[in-house]
């Protein structure tokens, strides 16, 4: 066995050249492109990680903003609810006050109406009583409508308080004697004679006619009036009835 040294040398050169050729045209370019792809992939991964981090931060911010909005909305709702409750209570109080006021006004109006109706009824009753009394007295003799009341007038004078009686005594020169009709002279003399016993001499009476008295006499001084007439009696009865009605109400 002998080695062909030329072949050995040429093949050595060939293999060395082939190593360089494949290194230059195959292995280096492929390794470089793989490294470039790995670098690009790393860059993309870094970008994706950065994007994911940013997205996570934005998501966190959105969550916080949403929570803040929810809290704000909750606070707003609570404030509105409180305001609504306050307004409702205020309105209810106002309505209640208005109702109470209107009810009081209605009750006052009703009481006033009732009182007015009662007064009207009393007046009508008084008028009716006066009419009835007038019709009844019309059947009596005219002298009875005056002279029958003279004794009552004298008793009224005697029952006066001393100060009031003294006031009439002081006014004895200017006393007015009212009667439901014009008094005849004899009737006037009888009245003067009866009153002179109670008030003394120097008595001067000025007769006046007042049909509203129906029957009876009234003596009027400057500050005292002594009544003994149907009108005064009916007025007194009417006051009594009114007082009883008020007491019953």
């Amino acid at each position: 066995m002998t080695l062909d040294w030329w072949t050995l040398g040429l093949q050595t050169i060939n293999v060395v050249i082939l190593v360089w050729l494949l290194s230059h045209f195959l292995f280096k370019p492929v390794a470089q492109i793989v490294a470039a792809r790995q670098q690009e992939a790393g860059r993309l991964l870094d970008e994706a990680a950065a994007t994911r981090t940013a997205a996570e931060a934005e998501r966190q911010q959105a969550v916080e903003a949403r929570q803040a909005l929810a809290a704000e909305r909750e606070a707003g709702l609570k404030a509105v609810e409180q305001e609504v409750a306050s307004t409702r209570e205020h309105l209810l109080a106002e309505v209640q006050r208005e109702i109470e006021q209107q009810r009081a006004q209605a009750e006052a109006a009703q009481a006033a109406q009732r009182s007015s109706a009662r007064l009207q009824a009393e007046e009508q009753a008084g008028a009716l009583a006066l009419d009835i009394a007038a019709h009844l007295l019309a059947r009596l003799p005219d002298n009875l409508r005056v002279t029958a009341f003279l004794d009552g007038l004298v008793e009224g004078l005697e029952q006066l308080a001393p100060a009031a009686r003294q006031s009439l005594v002081d006014d004895r020169q200017a006393l007015i004697l009212r009667a439901p009709r014009a008094l005849a002279e004899d009737e006037l003399q009888r009245c003067r004679a009866a009153l002179r016993g109670a008030l003394g001499d120097e008595l001067r009476l000025t007769p006046e006619v007042e049909p509203a008295l129906i029957a009876g006499l009234e003596l009027e001084g400057s500050s005292v009036v002594v009544r003994n007439s149907f009108r005064a009696d009916l007025a007194r009865l009417q006051r009594e009835l009114s007082r009883h009605d008020h007491a019953d109400a």
Binding site: M1, T2, L3, D4, W6, T7, L8, L10, Q11, T12, N14, V15, V16, I17, L18, V19, W20, L21, L22, S23, F25, L26, F27, K28, P29, V30, A31, I33, V34, A36, R37, E40
Partner: protein
């Protein structure tokens, strides 16, 4: 091919240089490999084509094999071992082309490949450990082992030559005998077997080269570690 496999036949002469068949076929293979690489790597992009995917798969597999065998970053060794594997594979399979003889069935070609591995292991060993450090590995575990370690260097280089030469040359012989005896269809199983044998021998030669260079780079006592590329 029924002539002696130990004799290198001269195909033609370039001046004083005798060009053997093995050299001529090697040139053809160099042309095919370099040209094919140039064509395939002209338009590499970040979005790979199918051809680029295959190339990247080849390089990635080679890197992974270097990393697993030598426990180092593959960058410095990729070109050497990748070229050894591709050239031996292409050379082994070139015997199936009518009229061509595999250069690896030639003793000088295999000797060149083994010598390159020997020189590479010495060179990478010195580059990695320094001259003294590399020479000190011959005295491991004791100076008594220096002759044996030197013999080991030579014998394992010789074993690379003999293994590749024997397997490929025998395949060529078997295929030649089958062709001369049985005609057209009978050699097909032997040709398929040659394909398998050629691939296996290319892989074995490359892996053994990685082991030898890796042992020289790491040293016998140092633990395996992965360095950065």
């Amino acid at each position: 091919m029924m002539s002696s496999p130990l004799v290198s036949e001269t195909l033609f002469r370039l001046g004083p240089l005798p060009i053997s068949k093995a050299v001529a076929v090697t040139w053809l293979l160099m042309l095919a490999l370099a040209g094919g690489s140039w064509l395939l790597t002209r338009r590499l992009g970040l979005r790979p084509s199918k051809g680029q995917v295959l190339l990247e798969l080849l390089v990635a597999t080679l890197d992974e094999q270097i990393r697993a065998t030598m426990q180092v970053a593959p960058g410095r060794y990729r070109a050497l071992f990748g070229t050894l594997f591709l050239f031996i594979l292409a050379a082994n399979w070139s015997g199936l082309v009518p009229g061509l003889e595999p250069p690896t069935a030639n003793l000088e070609t295999d000797a060149v490949l083994a010598l390159i591995v020997l020189v590479a292991s010495i060179g990478f060993g010195i580059a990695s450990q320094g001259l003294r450090g590399y020479l000190r590995t011959f005295a491991e575990p004791s100076w008594v082992m220096i002759p044996l370690n030197i013999v080991e260097q030579l014998t394992r280089t010789f074993s690379l030559v003999v293994r590749l030469f024997g397997n490929i040359m025998s395949g060529v012989f078997v295929l030649g005998i089958a062709l001369s005896l049985a005609g057209l269809l009978v050699p097909i199983p032997f040709m398929a077997l040659d394909l398998l044998t050629g691939a296996i021998q290319a892989y074995i030669f490359s892996v053994l080269a990685m082991v030898f260079v890796g042992a020289a780079v790491e040293g016998p006592a140092s633990p395996p570690s992965a360095s950065k590329e």
